[in-house]
């Protein structure tokens, strides 16, 4: 694109404000642009939600059909019966999110500021695991953490497993089928969701701000604390949300890497829906999970004090 010089004949008076009618039409433009998205949300999000909400207050059986009886007790029963799985889901997802942040931040920082010409390659490497299926990636962890495997052998000889076992994260000298394996799987599977938003917001930071901080005698750590980290907050917030929300509903990791006492609420919903065919309980569980996550996220965004998520 070429830039042509504007003709120098500038009128002395400021331009007239646009006519009211045109501006109304202009004001509607964003809504028109939103229309496809809203329709999509309506059909594939709002309607299924209504359907699920209705299901959650129905009673009946597959054979005889389900009728809306406003049976709200389903919610209470579901919560009472399955609160351990809820607590566990939030705990595991929370731990995995923190681990992702601890692992992802330095990596995103490195890619954004220090990688130079390797930047694109590193980004591709971050996304590369997505080219294989979620299941395959999770199953790979079964090989990595196998009982007689190298990883477990090393952890065992360093007596790490004694500590984790004492904490109840592992069982004796194995890692598979324990909470630790599930959290490892979650962390691994959702790490790119943390790194990419972090990278985007770090990469946008103006390098001159760092120089300015240096000119004002800020030590590197202070620069990070006062300049870089606050400016990367949008990335931190969206990264943690993109990690925490799907992780709290995940069930693949708990199914494949866990045991009976590490099942997360996603497994319960799946079992109730497909196996027990108790659709109301499954729907109620989904809504409870959604409500909990929504509350936590609202609280979190308020506390983090950021409106922008990118």
């Amino acid at each position: 694109m070429t830039i042509t010089e504007a003709p120098p004949a500038a009128p002395a008076t400021p331009p007239e404000p646009p006519v009211r009618k045109a501006s109304t039409r202009k004001r509607l433009v964003p809504y028109w642009l939103l229309l496809p998205g809203i329709l999509w949300l309506l059909v594939f999000f709002a309607l299924p939600m209504v359907y699920q909400a209705s299901t959650s207050v129905q009673t009946g059986s597959l054979e005889k059909g389900f009728q809306v009886t406003w049976h709200f007790a389903t919610y209470w029963d579901a919560l009472q019966e399955y609160y351990p799985q809820f607590v566990r889901s939030l705990l595991y997802a929370g731990t995995a999110t923190i681990l992702c942040l601890l692992l992802g931040y330095p990596l995103a920082y490195l890619i954004a500021f220090k990688a130079g010409r390797w930047r694109n390659l590193l980004l591709v490497l971050v996304i590369a695991p997505f080219f294989t299926s979620f299941l395959i990636r999770t199953l790979a962890w079964k090989t990595i953490l196998a009982d007689g495997g190298t990883v477990v052998g090393i952890l065992d000889s360093l007596h790490v497993l004694d500590v984790t076992s004492w904490l109840g994260w592992t069982e004796g000298n194995r890692v598979l089928a324990t909470p630790m394996a599930v959290v490892c799987g979650l962390t691994y599977n959702f790490l790119p969701f943390m790194i990419l938003p972090l990278y985007t917001s770090l990469e946008r930071i103006d390098g001159r701000l760092h120089e300015a901080a240096g000119d004002l005698y800020a030590r590197p750590l202070t620069t990070f604390r006062k300049v870089t980290f606050p400016l990367s907050m949008p990335g931190v917030v969206s990264g943690t949300l993109l990690t925490f929300i799907p992780a709290s509903g995940d069930y693949v990791n708990a199914e494949l890497l866990g045991s009976t006492d590490t099942k997360m609420v996603g497994s319960v919903i799946q079992t109730q829906f497909l196996r027990v065919l108790d659709y109301p309980t499954a729907a109620a569980l989904s809504f409870i999970l959604m409500a909990i996550v929504l509350l936590m996220v609202t609280f979190y965004i308020r506390r983090a004090g950021t409106e922008d998520l990118v």
Partner: protein, 415 residues
């Protein structure tokens, strides 16, 4: 809200202010959009909820399943099966037995291995079947409890015995009349699936594991035992171990079996309840011993001589995967011809040699010996009289029992 426009401002300033109201944060933020969408959704939700949608009964009444048969003018049949449940050629591009069928009858087969899990597959096709629509499949293969449920709900078409001469003549006695489909009016078995005990001799230190009691109690196996997440297999084997008959047990017997396994779960004897994925763990030795499906074990033994199996003295559970013609299928006659094709001993032998599950067809021994002598001698593929006598089928359950039992079992496995 009134827009505040003091006349002291210049035109440009006013324009800028308006711009900030329309395209700035004050106007159309993500949050206000979300709020608007949310309110809209809630309103619609409230209305729809009030009208009370409900889910209609799943059961189809009367002679619903019968459909117009287009077999005569459309020479094709659509067959949905489990993954790795069909013989394939060396280059994995051809299905020899299916191609033989097409050559003989002129009926082309669209074969898809799109069944991975009974409950998921049922979840996928159930809405169509309940609504009386064609699922697009003429022949499906599901495990017996699901076949029983589908027949109970009126989702399966009655088969015409006159088009199934080989199937009628050659079906093994063991499979002839299950309590959920007397006289095989709606279904024919594709394979039999013995549920046995398997162990990795290297992981057990050379010791045999041959009873469910040992799986549940032996301290040397602690944390290295797996049970199947299929309720009928795990509970059935435990019922046998408790001296109960899985063919005629009571609610109390069921509860006793649950309690028996629960005790082992509580003392961390059992590592996991697994689906098909136990095979890799058993192969590596992470699982030392488990309840397992015989066909998997035959395949594992090919590569790993340490994998052994044992038939408990109390007997073992046998289930089957069954061919059904779903309601409203377009090509029922063609599907029946395909079923009958697989009941010819040479074809059945060719299939059994490949997939290693119990062959439900009589008279294949000679044919299978021609292909592979060791397979013909393997009682997990061609059961001998003693083996057949030790087999027990899990009785069919009523809808209420099924829900209650699955609920209790789900609680046991943690979800």
């Amino acid at each position: 809200m009134e827009q505040y426009e003091p006349d002291r401002l210049s035109g440009a300033q006013l324009a800028a202010m308006r711009r900030s109201l329309t395209s700035g944060r004050g106007a159309l933020t993500r949050r206000s959009m979300l709020r608007a969408t949310g309110v809209g959704a809630l309103t619609i939700g409230g209305l729809a909820g009030l009208s009370g949608c409900g889910i209609p009964p799943a059961k189809r009444e009367g002679d619903g399943p019968a459909s117009t048969d287009h077999s005569a003018d459309e020479k094709r049949v659509v067959f949905s099966n489990w993954t790795e449940y069909m013989d394939v050629s060396e280059d994995e591009k051809h299905y020899p037995t299916l191609e033989a069928f097409t050559k003989r009858t002129g009926i082309s087969v669209k074969y898809t291995a799109d069944i991975n899990d009974n409950v998921e597959f049922f979840g996928k096709i159930q809405p169509q079947l309940a609504a009386g629509q064609d699922t697009g499949r003429d022949l499906i293969c599901v495990t017996d409890w699901l076949a029983a449920r589908m027949i109970r709900l009126g989702y399966a078409q009655k088969l015409d015995p006159s088009r199934l001469p080989h199937a009628f003549a050659n079906l093994s006695d063991q499979f002839r009349s299950p309590d959920w489909d007397p006289g095989r009016a709606h279904s024919y078995p594709w394979t039999g699936i013995p549920t046995v005990i398997a162990y990795n001799a290297k992981a057990t230190g050379g010791r045999t594991v041959d009873s469910v009691s040992q799986l549940l109690d032996d301290p040397r196996l602690k944390g290295r035992v797996a049970f199947l997440s299929e309720m009928r297999d795990s509970i059935g084997m435990t019922l046998l171990d408790l001296g109960k008959d899985p063919g005629s047990f009571t609610d109390d017997d069921f509860d006793a079996a649950i309690a028996r396994i629960q005790k082992a779960v509580d003392k961390k004897q059992i590592r996991r309840f697994t689906g098909n994925d136990y095979t890799a763990d058993l192969d590596k030795g992470d699982i030392a011993a488990c309840v397992a499906w015989a066909g998997d074990i035959v395949q594992l033994q090919h590569d790993n001589p340490d994998i052994k199996f044992a038939i408990p003295r109390s007997g073992y559970i046998i289930s089957s995967d069954n061919l059904l013609v779903p309601a409203k299928a377009r090509h029922k006659t063609n599907a029946e011809k395909l079923i009958d094709h697989y009941y010819q001993p040479p074809v059945a032998a060719q299939l059994a040699a490949y997939i290693n599950y119990v062959c439900p067809v009589d008279g294949v021994r000679a044919e299978l010996t021609k292909i592979d002598k060791s397979m013909a001698d393997n009682t997990l593929i061609l059961p001998d009289a003693a083996m057949a006598a030790a087999s027990h089928a899990f009785r069919s359950l009523s809808a209420e029992e099924e829900t209650a039992y699955e609920q209790k079992f789900a609680k046991l496995i943690g979800a």
